[in-house]
Every structure is written in C-alpha cells, then in structure tokens.
Homo-oligomer: 145 residues x 2
DNA sequence: TCCGGTTCTGGACTTTGTCTAAAACGGCAT
DNA sequence: ATGCCGTTTTAGACAAAGTCCAGAACCGGA
C-alpha cells in the first residue's frame, strides 16, 4: 500500500481543542496525528498512520504513533478494533456502531447504527461489568458453489 | 501460563472419524491435534496447542500446528476468534454462540446461545454475502470510579 | 516396489508491537 | 530569561505471532 490519498487535514486549533477536551496535552506529535485522524471517519492501523505521516513529511517515531493511538483509545477519542488478526484498527467514528469485515479484502466498514440493533444483552459474570459490545459481520465475495 | 491441566484426550478412532467426516485426511499429526482439541470446549491459541503437545511428548512442528489449525478452521471444525489483538484463538465449540472477553485477564468465555439473540441482520453490501456474525462483549473488573 | 502428490519439518524470515535509556520538550516558578 | 522537573519523544534493540521455503518423509495406488 504505497498509494497516498489526499486526506483532508483538520485545522490545528480544532484539533487542539479536541485534545484538551479529552484531557490530553496537545503536543506537536499528538496534534499531527489528531489532525490526520479526525478529518473524517476512517479505520486506520498504526502502520498506515506512520506511512501517511511519513509521506506528508511529518517525522513522528513509531513508538510515538503506537503510544499516541493507545492513549487516544484509552481516553475514548478512538475505538480500538481487533478483527483482522494481523493488526489493530483504530476507528475514528465515535458513535455506537458495528462493523462489516470483508475476509477477502481485509476491508473494514461501518454498519449504520439503525441497521443493527442489539437488543438484549446478557448479564456480565460476577465481579465484572460490561465495557463494550462489538458486533462484527464477516463478509465474503458472493460466488456460486 | 505454564500450568498444565490434565486434558482428557479423545479416543483415536473418534478423532479419525471426525476428520474424515469433514473431508480431512487423518494424518498422524492432525490426529494428535484433533484429539487434544475435541476433548471439550475450549479456546486455544496456536502457541498453547504447541505447548500442550510438547508437554505431552508429541513432537509436531510449529508450521504444522499453524497449518492444521488453519485447515480445521477452513473446514469448519473450528472457529477462529480474533479478539485478543496479540493472538488468534480457536474455538472448539461449533454451535452458534458468542463471547465474553475479559480485557483485564485476557480470558475468553462463551455466552450461552439463549442469552444473546441476534435478531436483525443488516443486508450485506452488493457483491458480498454474510459469512458469519461474531458478537464480543468486552468485560472489565468491577470497581468504583 | 515404485511413483507422484500431499504433508511435515526446521529454520530463516516478516510483521506488528513493546521496551529502554537517553535526549528533548513543556510548563512553571523564580 | 533561566533553571528545574516531570512528561514526552526518539532510535533502535527486542519480542512474539505467524508465514515461507526447500528438502525430507509419508501415503495411497498401480
């Protein structure tokens, strides 16, 4: 994946406000990453973020990208999605929703919230509370046989 | 996790029948793995399978374990579960059911089918069909604040 | 027994992600 | 400004899961 798309980059002040709002100190690197991420709903892996930043000439180290994505996820700015066994995706769509995962292409896409209601949740086992519900619908190419 | 439990091992003939039933040539190594897996419902990672076999003195190479688990999953003897970003689990419980995932302990457990009905599925995007639905309920330790 | 395709193997390799120790930074008080 | 100190960033080493490869072993059929 070397093709770079022209990602619209978020305004710096907006990004800064967003980080502060979530109690995150807006350092230079975090802002670069935030501006990239919050320019629209997307599903990005750490590697992809690193690639895009590199392509844009922004030098941010691998460790920082991993740390920052982890931080954003802990602070609920992002949602961590482990569906593809080979890498974690970060979902910038904050609202409650679920995912399609295309096993042939590895592509991840949103299911619009209305289409997939989850009515009845089971009780959490003793000593635990529910932290989140994640529904993944695995898709494959339509074909005969 | 170095503690080994005394896993009841499935009878060889049963295992062989099971493999044939699913169109899998029952080689020696596949039988070893099958006997281990189908001795009860469990969630095992490839590494863990390798460990258990090694502890039992059965020598099966890493590549074979990975290949075999992949094969079993493709043939629908097992269900691949990618929840823990660091490893894939193989679920020997074949029936339709979903999972709790304890984010504090990394533990994976079944949700009994009745407790978690999934009523309404969205339509698959054009050109694709639904291959499976996976619901994961993330749990964390109960605590104040 | 020979043959040909399938399976298994050790080991090298790749990829994702983590760790570490040192340097740089950022905010604050002086 | 200056100095201080805790936080953040960095490069690069490292770790773990999983894949790949080329040769050896195996398996069933003729």
């Amino acid at each position: 994946m070397t093709d770079k798309q022209t990602t619209p980059i978020l305004d710096e002040e907006q990004a800064e406000a967003r980080l502060r709002e979530y109690g995150i100190l807006p350092t230079h690197q975090r802002l670069q990453i935030a501006r990239l991420l919050f320019s629209g709903d997307q599903h990005l892996s750490a590697d992809r973020v690193l690639e895009i930043l590199a392509a844009a000439g922004q030098r941010v180290s691998k460790a920082t990208v991993y740390n920052t994505l982890g931080l954003f996820a802990r602070k609920n700015l992002l949602r961590e999605v482990s569906i593809d066994p080979s890498r974690v995706f970060y979902d910038t769509n904050n609202s409650a929703h679920h995912h399609f995962y295309n096993i042939d292409t590895g592509e991840l896409s949103d299911i619009s919230p209305g289409e997939m209601p989850v009515e009845q949740l089971p009780e959490a086992p003793a000593g635990t509370v529910i932290d989140g519900v994640e529904v993944v619908i695995r898709l494959r190419r339509e074909q005969r046989k």
